[in-house]
Symmetry: C2
Subunit: 233 residues, 2 copies
Amino acid sequence: MTTPRRPKPGDLVIDPLPPARTHPVSERLRQIYAEAARLFVEKGYDATSMSDIAQAVNITKAGLYHFVKSKEDLLMTIVTHGMDQLFDDVVEPARAVADPAERLSLIVRNHVMNIGRVRGRSGNPLTIIADDVSGLGGERKRQIDRRKREYFDLVRDTLGALQARGDIDGALDITVCAHNLIGVILWTARWRRPEGRASRDDVAEQILAFVSRGVLARRPPDTSTLANLPTDR
Amino acid sequence: MTTPRRPKPGDLVIDPLPPARTHPVSERLRQIYAEAARLFVEKGYDATSMSDIAQAVNITKAGLYHFVKSKEDLLMTIVTHGMDQLFDDVVEPARAVADPAERLSLIVRNHVMNIGRVRGRSGNPLTIIADDVSGLGGERKRQIDRRKREYFDLVRDTLGALQARGDIDGALDITVCAHNLIGVILWTARWRRPEGRASRDDVAEQILAFVSRGVLARRPPDTSTLANLPTDR
DNA sequence: TTGCAGAAACCGACCGACCGGTTAGTCTGT
DNA sequence: ACAGACTAACCGGTCGGTCGGTTTCTGCAA
């Protein structure tokens, strides 16, 4: 029952969803994790059967069990890998940035880029499904929840630092703001289509503008003082 | 195969999840829809069995099928009812408001209040699960999607009107903004606990402030001109 | 007030399909 | 020879749903 190691920087980690193993992870295994992740995201964990996954990689269910211990293990590995990516791409880089405004920009940009990234032939890694971990039993669920909490705290503390130095209106509840911000980011996974009009970069910049200035803020300090009248109809 | 009617104003609609029936809908039926909704939200549609639902209302599965035609019917009725509420509480009132800024406020407030409302002994009505309608076949899924689209268009058009009159920065993509806004609202269903610190009203006002002014907008037009320096530190 | 028919409410037993997972054994490359 | 990759057949169990029957409620004629 050792806690599953996650790849350290310099680990030569292979692109899509590698299990914690030594180097030449078999192509099959990669394929299995990639297809399983795609199906879990597409149809949901409960609605995806092991036969579905087996069929997607062109082996029988028994063949699939040659590589994988259980369905729950499969989910745990996938979600853990998604979390690893989140920490490698977002959390650790963010912690290296001292200025909270810059840190916030980095978090938004990197997280949005992380979501919807297409790796190999797999669909987008999850983070979304990380919310759908009800299929995980006791200790493993707690492990994922702890890392989600860690990420949330990073965001909230960053907003807290901004509020402390006066960059955020004191009337705003930074805990609620942190939820809102994360909600906006994660929501992109549900509406953005890779083939759509908006690229990942576009969306990242749009979201940054959205959360920074808000939707109703007029562009520069408006030159005409008329703008401040109470509800002009 | 007539399209299921939804209650018109003045219909004397009974509180939690009534099927389309004449007045004295049986208590059992109300209980069934309420418990089913609670379980679907709690564990997900696929992970909830008909036996679970039957047990929750203290009858056998066969007894349950006396009231309900199929599991999919149950889901469809619940989701349709959730949509009805969204339209009654948010869309139709919003359409009666001419000013787009006021309309936006109404949408945010009423939608946040609608989510997490507790009716009778049922949990919060869904709108969340309206995203989880993969269990619905062809035509019925399309029917729900059409109404989701209608709501989305209302939000986007409202933002469009605000942008047209200069209240929203021209650089912002209002389609992305609409997604962001809806994401923030729906996300509340995933993190807000009724017993928690923040009331529904609190959250509604916080979100309104969040999307209006953004997080990084300093309070009033800062009196010291020093504030406009490029990235201090 | 009673008797009773019919409808609504409900149950125990059961169905075929499919679930996650296992077994025993067969290929194939080294 | 042997190990990894893989399969056909199968396991106990649960799924959504059905069946035939019994109880309980309700309206109404005598």
